[in-house]
């Protein structure tokens, strides 16, 4: 970036500075810590200079926004042209409760919906399954049949709003339900906008909501990709998610590496299923975490864009530049929020959201301050949304593209993140790819180790968490929290029972039979799931077919 002669001069001055100015300062005033490390536990130097990015080629490695390798952003004007989508994740209780929250959020300026499902739905069980006891409607909305989905989107025009659904194991079922609701509203699949998370690999690595073993789960996923590619051109077939990897305790580097490697695995499967890379790569989207280490997070997003563009180009040589663009949603780090002094979470969230915006996110969810205690109240979720709006409209950080680009520290960090991610790629390649690596517990153990290290750093006060291991307050002001009463479960069970009574038993049985036959064969599973859903077969019944044909994945349970 800088000519050799100038670099030599900088090097000489740097040595001089170290021996005089820096040395003198350290003698009078030693540094606060023996060593400074990032949240990923990587050393941070006292100062970064052009020497740290000496080998970089501006045009090749950084370039211009909207152009390969997209380090500075995927659009030429980024947030000057369009702000990110403010998309708060919501879902609790029954479909009616969540529908009310959706209408409220849309009235407050939210631009897209993001559905949180309860644990039984995420695991593919109905509300009346014994293992669902106590969990119905608690961490999200309970969806058993198409009827729940119809209520969930009542009064919401699906041709105008984009919907993101956080669902993985049973993703195919919820996609089919969404298609069926749209059909009833008269909206064709081609008009639907939104995202299905459907990232099954990260379930085994981190989020841990699965149904079948990885191999058949990848078949179901490939069928989703193929179906969406053929019928839903405006729909993101997968949201490849590092978010949960980070929440499970990974470092930023692990989040970056495992997520991108998962993404490349999905591209391989799509190609193997007969798709052209340009047909579906532009509809793959990503989902990252925004944690506390401000610069490391921004570097992570920049490195992610660069690696994705480079790898897609190298491996598949697509013709459409959109295939090389990594588009991503961000959520602030739930795992960074503390139950102690919960209002402090508003400040944490602000810093994290700012990192996501400066990192060039396309969509953002800001966590509510009370989420360590319960699901967010309306007041808490409003403050979280306002945080985004203040960054967007008051901070002026959106006025130029990639404003921190060119910072010696940030560029160096971006390079380091990239190198560290490639180190993990090599290890995963050596294990035979992501699925064999999961079977061997490699990503799981790496994350666990990082989580344990971080816990120890907090306990030893190597990392300070305000209100937890320092600045602890004895008296805590109680905050209002949202409560989900047992009546939610009761109401949901009644509705499920009614649906089962009312549906046409012959049509229902035939649809499940057809699905079973399809699962045993090779045809695409989306159409038979759609038929089953329309016959009011439940999430649990459809997933039981998968469990029966494909088997159940058991947690290896190592620690």
């Amino acid at each position: 970036m800088i000519d050799v002669q100038s670099l030599k001069k900088i090097q000489e001055r740097k040595v001089q500075w170290e021996q005089t100015t820096l040395k003198k300062t350290l003698e009078v005033m030693p540094e606060r810590q023996a060593k400074f490390v990032s949240l990923s536990n990587r050393p941070v130097k006292v100062l970064y200079t052009p020497l740290d990015i000496a080998g970089m080629d501006y045009n090749e490695d950084i370039g211009f926004p909207g152009e390969y390798p997209f380090t500075r952003g995927i659009h030429a004007t980024m947030h000057r042209g369009r702000l990110w989508t403010m998309r708060q994740f919501a879902g609790f209780g029954t479909a009616e409760d969540t529908n009310r929250r959706f209408h409220y959020l849309l009235s407050q300026g939210q631009m897209g919906l993001s559905v949180a499902f309860d644990l039984p739905t995420l695991m593919g069980y109905d509300s009346d399954h014994p293992i669902s006891r106590g969990e119905v409607g608690r961490e999200g909305v309970a969806i058993d049949s198409l009827e729940d989905m119809e209520i969930l989107f009542k009064g919401i025009p699906l041709d105008q709003i984009s919907t993101s659904m956080t669902i993985n194991g049973p993703a195919i079922v919820l996609l089919a339900m969404y298609l069926a609701v749209a059909e009833k509203q008269g909206v064709p699949p081609a008009q639907l906008r939104g995202t299905l998370q459907a990232d099954i690999l990260k379930e085994y690595i981190a989020q841990r909501e699965w149904i079948c073993p990885p191999e058949p789960a990848m078949r179901i996923l490939t069928d989703i990709i193929v179906y969406c590619t053929r019928h839903m051109p405006r729909w993101n077939s997968i949201s490849i998610s590092g978010y949960h990897i980070r929440e499970a305790g990974s470092t930023a580097v692990q989040e970056l590496a495992f997520t991108l490697y998962d993404g490349l695995t999905y591209v391989d499967y799509g190609i193997r299923a007969g798709l052209e890379v340009d047909e579906f790569a532009p509809r793959l989207s990503f989902f990252f975490n925004a944690h506390n280490d401000f610069f490391e997070e921004i570097a992570k997003y920049r490195a992610a864009r660069r690696i994705w563009a480079r790898e897609l180009k190298r491996r598949y040589n697509p013709k459409n530049p959109r295939s090389l663009m990594l588009r991503f949603h961000t959520q602030t780090a739930g795992c960074s929020a503390t139950a102690q002094q919960p209002l402090n979470n508003i400040i944490r969230t602000t810093i994290q959201a700012l990192a996501a915006v400066l990192g060039g996110t396309q969509s953002l969810h800001t966590n509510s301050y009370d989420e360590t205690l319960a699901l967010p109240t309306e007041e808490a979720v409003t403050i979280a949304l306002r945080t985004q709006q203040i960054i967007a409209y008051e901070s002026e950080v959106t006025n130029t593209v990639d404003p921190l680009g060119g910072s010696y520290y940030l560029e160096r960090l971006t390079n380091e993140m990239e190198e560290a991610a490639y180190d993990y790629f090599k290890k995963l390649d050596a294990l035979g790819g992501m699925i064999p690596a999961i079977h061997q517990g490699f990503p799981q153990k790496e994350i666990q180790e990082a989580a344990y290290t971080y816990q120890k750093q907090i306990e030893n006060k190597e990392k300070i968490i305000v209100g937890v291991n320092e600045f602890v307050a004895k008296e805590e002001t109680p905050i209002k929290i949202l409560k989900i009463g047992p009546e939610v479960e009761k109401k949901q069970l009644e509705r499920l029972e009614n649906v089962k009574k009312r549906r046409d038993p012959i049509k229902h049985k035939a649809a499940l039979e057809q699905l079973r036959a399809a699962a045993k064969g090779k045809e695409n599973l989306v159409p038979p799931v759609l038929e089953a859903v329309k016959a009011y077969a439940t999430v649990g019944e459809i997933c039981d077919v998968f469990r029966e044909v494909f088997g159940i994945y058991q947690d290896p349970g190592f620690f």
């Binding site: 293992i131 106590g134 909501e209 305790g249 989580a451 947690d555």
Partner: protein, 135 residues
């Protein structure tokens, strides 16, 4: 040798229900093991029946349930009930997770010995078990 082994505290760390948040459970399991205890970890998605059956079979001194999904008001009482049924009255039940203060008070009144919320250090849990399980 056998006598020394007998002195070790045996703990079952369990993840009941459908909750998949296992970071805390695994950190605690690892920390207790590093502190010299014998730790059995159930893995995810255990029913209360499975948890109690494992506790019985493994002859543990304590069961620690980790619950972050909000299902604690069902799962803790159910495990306590089954422990009574199976004669595990000497086994201590404790837990951790996202559990509101008022629920903690109720659960403790029912017989749950202690509930640790987020922000607890592993040292606190180790100390608590050492003080409350006399071997």
């Amino acid at each position: 040798m056998a006598e020394e082994k007998q002195k070790k505290i045996r703990v079952l760390i369990a993840k009941p229900g459908l909750d998949g948040h296992d970071r805390g459970a695994k950190i605690i399991a690892r920390a207790l093991r590093d502190a010299g205890m014998e730790v059995i970890y159930t893995g995810l998605h255990q029913t209360p029946e499975q948890v109690v059956a494992t506790a019985l079979q493994e002859d543990v001194d304590a069961i620690g349930l980790s619950i972050l999904s909000g299902a604690h008001n069902y799962l803790f009482p159910r495990v306590l009930e089954l422990m009574k049924e199976k004669g595990l009255e000497d086994v201590m039940l404790f837990g951790g997770g996202i559990i509101p203060d008022e629920d903690i008070a109720k659960l403790k009144a029912m017989g749950v010995k202690e509930i640790f919320t987020p922000g607890t250090s592993t040292e606190e849990v180790i100390k608590f078990l050492r003080e409350n399980i006399k071997k």
